[in-house]
Structures are given as structure tokens and as C-alpha cells.
């Protein structure tokens, strides 16, 4: 799996879990489906951007920082529409970006199939 696909899938999976944790907040539990869908889309977009960055820049520190920044940025956009839950939105969103940024740099894509000389 290439870095872009890997980061996108990982971002999506973490996005799903990120959304599911809203179930533990009783006042938004009835909106959980919308939250999971939105969170998944956010995770996928975060993964795409981080994957594209990881294809071009090969640095664990820069990749992780970029992931954190992208995760925090998208979380902030969500926060603008839902004021009052700053930590609940910013912290998990940033954590997803941080993890995907780190994993995308560490991931080694499968080598191309060998051919006869």
C-alpha cells in the first residue's frame, strides 16, 4: 500500500473511532451518526493531505508536525461551527493528525513486483 492510500485509510479509521467517542457525551449522543460521518470525512481528508506530504517530504519530525497541524486545523474548522466543546474537538482531532503524520512517515510501501531480466 502506498503512503497516500495508507494515510487515507488510517485517517478514515481513526476518524470513525473519533466520531464514535461522541457516544460518551450524552448531550450529543442523538447526533452520533452525523458526527461519525463528519469525523470520518475529516479523517480521510486529513489522511490525504498528510499522505501527499509524506510522498514528498521524508522527515519523521516534519511529517509528524505537519500531521498535528493539519489535524488541529480541521478540528478548529469543526470548532467554529460548534463552539463550547473546544477540548472535546481540538484534542482528539489533533491526536488523529499527529498519529497519521507519524505513521505515514514510518510506513514503507510494498516494493514493486520483480520482473525477469
Amino acid at each position: 500500500m502506498k503512503k497516500l492510500a495508507f494515510a487515507t485509510v488510517l485517517g478514515g479509521i481513526l476518524g470513525i473511532f473519533d466520531g464514535l467517542t461522541a457516544w460518551f457525551t450524552p448531550e450529543v449522543r442523538d447526533q452520533i451518526i452525523g458526527i461519525v460521518i463528519g469525523s470520518t470525512i475529516k479523517g480521510v481528508v486529513t489522511g490525504v493531505l498528510i499522505g501527499l506530504f509524506a510522498q514528498r517530504v521524508h522527515s519523521l519530525a516534519l511529517g509528524t508536525l505537519f500531521g498535528l497541524a493539519v489535524g488541529a486545523f480541521f478540528a478548529y474548522l469543526i470548532l467554529l461551527g460548534n463552539p463550547g466543546h473546544a477540548l472535546n474537538i481540538m484534542l482528539p482531532g489533533s491526536l488523529v493528525g499527529l498519529i497519521v503524520g507519524y505513521a505515514a512517515q514510518k510506513h514503507r510501501p510494498v516494493a514493486a513486483e520483480r520482473r525477469a531480466p
Partner: protein, 295 residues
């Protein structure tokens, strides 16, 4: 009484090649084979060390033809994994010789015992496969592949040596001759009347791989398939063997081992262990934040 050392020294002096009239100066003895002796020599024209393979006095005409053929085979196989020949000719004492690159390094088995990890060992094995596949593509079958004939150089380069019993495709050969080394010889090579093709080298490489492999099931299965007694049950060629080893290294399913569902799960977890560990870490951190800080 003359001591063994003195006798050996005397033997060396008597059998030492006469390099007068050539561009080479004898430096030392490197090793002896069945029909020839390899010396370290100095190429005075290009100011470099070379290995000189000199035919022994005692051999017959067929050995002379074999040495000449070996030099020609090496000359036509220009590949980074095959030791290059620089010169071929006859010495003043009448013996045939050829000069080749002096290879510095260790035999594959000794190098493997010195501690490289599995990835490094298999990467070296793949370089051997590349060289042998190249020879096959040029119609040459090595027929004596074994760790002694594979050198790993100081910079990780891998060279396949000793093409003395190699056979060129379409070349006629006496069918009563058995060539090879028993531990690495395919069953058909042991039968003088059998036709030997590229799959004999696949067998030998399978035996070499078995010596490099650890206990991983898929790797053992690849070596077992390559060393199947029936040639038709082996890989079609060295490239197919190399491709399966590459798939193993990439964490993919290998042709040699039909997978069960549990094998597939184990392989998936091994391949994506970092991502799985990170997802689990995320969930643990998230649960911690929820339970302690209500975030």
C-alpha cells in the same frame, strides 16, 4: 625426513605458473580446485590485483576445453553479480589461464553466519537470483551453485563464481558425466542420463535459501518448493523463485504456501503492526481522556 610444510612449499614452487612474457606478477596462492589453481597476481600494466585461474599440469584435454569455455561464458555474461573476466591466454609453460576480477569478501554461508538480519540475507539471495536469471536468459546454466561459489563483497555486492561446469544451452555434452556438489545437486543432476535444465539451478538456489532462512513458515515453503524432487513441481525459473522471495519480504502471500484464514490474519497483523499499534494507542489515550478528564 622432509616436513609436510617443506613438501607443500616444494609443490608450490614446481606448480607455480611461469608468468614470463605476460603482464602479470605472481603474488600468492588463493585456492585450488579440481582442475585449476587460482593465484593472486598483479596486473603490472593496469596496476591492479587480479585473480589468475591456471589449468593444472595433470589434467586432460577436456579440462582445457572446459577452462576455455568458462572464460568465454564469463566474457559473455556481463552482469554486476557475475565475476568479470579480463584476459585469457596461454602461459609460457604451455598452460591455459584466464584473469578475472579479484573478489574481496566472504563466502555466502560465512557472511550469513556473521550476523546480517533476515532482510539483508534475503536481499543478498535476491542478488544471486538476479545474476543466475541473467545467465539463464543468455542460455547458461551454472550447475554448481552453492555457498562456496557465492561471495559477498566488502560493500554488500554479491558475485557468483566458478562457472567451470556451466552448460550453454544447445551445447552437446557427454551424458555419462555427473557434475555438481551432492548437497546442492538436483535429483536429475545425479542421473547421468537425465536432461538438466534451468530448474537444476532453481533446486540449488532452494538449498542455498534453506541455509539462509529462519523458521518462518512461508520462507521454508519457498525453499521446499524450489527443492522439490520433481522438476515440474519447482518454480519455472529463478525469476519466479526470486519474485516469491520478494513477495515474502514485502509481507505479501507467497505462491509456495496456500494460506488459511488464520495465516492471512497473522500476515496482515505482521505487515501493519505499526498502524494497528497506533490505532490501539489512540483508543487507549481517548478512553483515558474520557474517563479521567471527561473530554
Amino acid at each position: 625426513m622432509i616436513s609436510e610444510t617443506a613438501l607443500d612449499r616444494l609443490h608450490e614452487l614446481v606448480t607455480a605458473p611461469d608468468l614470463s612474457g605476460t603482464r602479470y606478477e605472481l603474488v600468492s596462492l588463493l585456492g585450488r580446485g579440481g582442475m585449476a589453481t587460482v593465484y593472486l597476481a598483479r596486473d603490472t600494466t593496469l596496476d591492479r590485483d587480479v585473480a589468475l585461474k591456471v589449468l593444472d599440469w595433470t589434467v586432460d584435454e577436456s579440462s582445457a576445453l572446459r577452462l576455455a569455455q568458462e572464460a568465454r561464458i564469463l566474457a559473455r555474461l556481463e552482469h554486476p553479480g557475475i565475476v568479470p573476466v579480463h584476459d585469457f591466454g596461454r602461459l609460457a609453460d604451455g598452460r591455459l589461464f584466464y584473469a578475472m576480477k579479484r573478489v574481496r569478501g566472504e563466502r555466502l554461508d560465512r557472511w550469513a553466519a556473521s550476523g546480517p538480519d533476515r532482510h539483508e540475507r534475503l536481499a543478498a539471495f535476491l542478488r544471486v537470483c538476479d545474476a543466475v536469471a541473467f545467465a539463464h536468459a543468455h542460455g547458461v546454466i551454472h550447475r554448481d551453485l552453492k555457498p562456496d561459489n557465492i561471495m559477498v563483497g566488502e560493500f554488500g555486492e554479491v558475485l557468483v563464481l566458478d562457472w567451470g561446469v556451466a552448460r550453454v544451452h544447445g551445447q552437446s555434452e557427454r551424458h555419462d558425466t555427473i557434475v555438481g556438489t551432492p548437497a546442492y545437486m538436483s535429483p536429475e543432476q545425479m542421473r547421468a542420463d537425465a536432461v538438466v535444465d534451468e530448474r537444476a539451478d532453481v533446486f540449488a538456489l532452494g538449498a542455498v535459501l534453506a541455509g539462509l532462512a529462519d523458521e518462518r513458515k512461508a520462507l521454508r515453503a519457498i525453499a521446499a518448493k524450489a527443492t522439490a524432487a520433481d522438476p515440474s513441481a519447482r518454480y519455472d525459473g529463478v525469476s519466479a523463485l526470486g519474485a516469491d522471495v520478494s513477495r515474502f519480504m514485502a509481507g505479501l502471500a507467497v505462491d509456495a504456501l496456500p494460506e488459511t484464514a488464520s495465516d492471512r490474519v497473522v500476515r496482515f497483523v505482521r505487515r501493519y503492526r505499526l498502524a494497528i499499534a497506533l490505532v490501539v494507542t489512540y483508543l487507549l489515550v481517548r478512553l483515558l481522556l474520557l474517563s479521567v478528564f471527561r473530554i
